[in-house]
């Protein structure tokens, strides 16, 4: 029917309901408390971080035992470099958790409830990022420190400097937590857990794998850039002054590069979350 809608005249006035619960102004701190409850109350957090700890400790110890049993020559490298392999594999767990922190909300429809409770989307993204960053930074740093101490005990620390210790523990913790934030931003942009995890693993491994097969003379420069700046190359810089290549970034420069990329991705994630319908 195409008739005009019929509308009714004014209605009687009612006494509006007022709640006995006192309303208190909510701020970022409340969003942080909320996100902390969320991240600690799902199994995926325990699983991903648990597997990461097992990988870091297990592979780190195996490497140290192997080196000490064979009396292998460390070729001037610090004993701490033995921690690298465990962290590289463990980083995939952190990436998974970073993606799940936000993409699982899109998957379950929880994001609608979350944004209904907190219409400031920037606050939601910021609270998620802070909680996730602090949790992964703490877990990674503590585990890396534990592994480093065990390895130094098994192999002997030699001439390792304080600066090297700092990079292999706090530095690695920061790097992995920022990498996780990048995954969180990708999760917010793609809004699909499996898709975002695939993208992140591709981002971490493809440049290095692709570089291995670039035999052509004309691609030599591209190959060098990929080798210098792939995520494993950036990570190895925390352990060894030599790195995978001689020309790549060293130590804290790696962290700066990754932080820059992550900041851009998070800005994009904020823009997308703010503009999109959910």
């Amino acid at each position: 029917m195409t008739t005009a809608p019929y509308q009714q005249g004014p209605q009687p006035q009612y006494q509006q309901y007022t709640s006995p619960i006192p309303a208190r102004r909510a701020h970022l701190g409340d969003a942080l408390a909320s996100e902390w409850t969320k991240i600690r109350s799902v199994r995926s957090t325990m699983w991903t971080l648990g597997v990461m700890i097992v990988l870091m400790v297990g592979i780190g110890l195996l490497a140290a035992v192997a080196v000490s049993a064979s009396d292998a020559d460390m070729q001037g490298e610090s004993v701490l470099v033995l921690g690298f392999y465990g962290v590289l594999l463990g980083s995939i767990c952190v990436v998974t958790l970073g993606v799940l922190t936000i993409a699982s909300e899109h998957g379950t429809g929880m994001i609608r409830t979350t944004l209904t409770a907190c219409p400031s989307r920037g606050r939601v993204l910021l609270a998620k990022s802070i909680v996730f960053f602090l949790l992964t930074f703490t877990v990674t740093t503590v585990t890396a420190a534990l592994v480093a101490v065990l390895q130094a005990g098994l192999v002997g620390s030699g001439t390792t400097t304080g600066e090297e210790w700092l990079r292999a523990t706090v530095g690695v913790g920061l790097f992995i937590a920022v990498l996780g934030l990048l995954a969180l931003a990708v999760g917010a942009l793609i809004r699909h857990s499996a898709g975002a995890i695939t993208v992140m693993i591709g981002l971490m491994l493809l440049p290095l794998v692709a570089a291995m097969f670039m035999f052509s003379e004309s691609l030599v420069d591209v190959r060098q850039v990929l080798l210098d700046y792939s995520i494993p190359s950036l990570l190895v810089a925390f352990y060894s002054d030599a790195g995978i290549t001689d020309t790549g970034p060293e130590g804290w420069t790696s962290l700066g590069i990754l932080t820059g990329v992550t900041a851009v991705a998070l800005a994009g994630a904020f823009y997308a979350l703010d503009r999109r319908d959910v």
Binding site: M1, T2, P5, Y6, Q7, Q8, Q11, Y14, Q15, Q16, Y17, T18, S19, P20, I21, A23, R24, R25, A26, D30, A31, A33, S34, E35, T37, K38, S41, V42, R43, S44, S104, E105, T108, G109, M110, R112, T113, T114, L115, T116, A117, C118, P119, S120, R275, D277, V278
Partner: protein, 312 residues
Amino acid sequence: MIELEGLTKRFGTKTAVDHLSFQVRPGQVTGFLGPNGAGKSTTMRMVLGLDHPTSGTARIDGKHYGELDEPLTYIGALLEAGGLHGGRSAYNNLLCLAQSNRIPERRVAEVLDLVGLSAVARKKPKGFSMGMGQRLGIAAALLGDPQILMFDEPVNGLDPEGIHWIRNLMKALAAEGRTIFVSSHLMSEMALTADHLIVIGRGKLLADTSMADFIHQNSRSYVRVRSPQPEQLRDALHSSGMTVAEEGNGTLEIDGATTEEVGELAGRHGIVLHELSAQRASLEEAFMRMTAAAVEYHAHDANAPQWAPKGV
């Protein structure tokens, strides 16, 4: 109070919500009715600030949703698709919501008790039945003890006991002076719950009226009469100026007449009657007539009845 002004949402070339303007007032249950795809959920999502309107505004007590500081204490919503994390316990699902709005933690236990889920507070919602999931969603909506409650298709998939429970809950909440806005595609359900009715079709407002007015204006009443002398009866009715429709087996239907008129007329002409009864066409029928032009997807069945059987 929820106020919509020229609210419009386009997805590409398709207009899902088309210049909707209406108010949802406190102290009553307002039914939001329309066929599937009419734009009910999109409208509700825009009220909650989840979807951005193409044009127009939706306000809650004069404010945009985004301007509410602790929105859960103003408005609680039950959205169609769950909206909670299946792997997080019922208690923690509600706790993280409460924390984000500075609602005291004791409210979590209170609302779980209110919806009858205290026994499964520590269980995960993915193992819940549809009815339990719906109750948990309602608990989340009630968490901030809000003045306004919005339910999107709350009775979908519920058993009769659950439907009965939600119906009474909505009425009780409205009686406390709250604004209740509930969507449905079932007229029969709304007839039992709503005091006020807003009908949309293809995103356009079709009716904004009190339930009583809607019933009064839209339910066709007629008299059904059965006689072994149908020809004589029909002639008698015709000669007294009544409109008669023949239904076979000697049954006649007379629009706009009373049983008294028909009975007395038959008596005067000495016609035997086997049945004489007052009938009302269903509200479902009225609703379907109103939205017939606005139904998104018709079933392609030439023999399908134009609308549902009578008898609501």
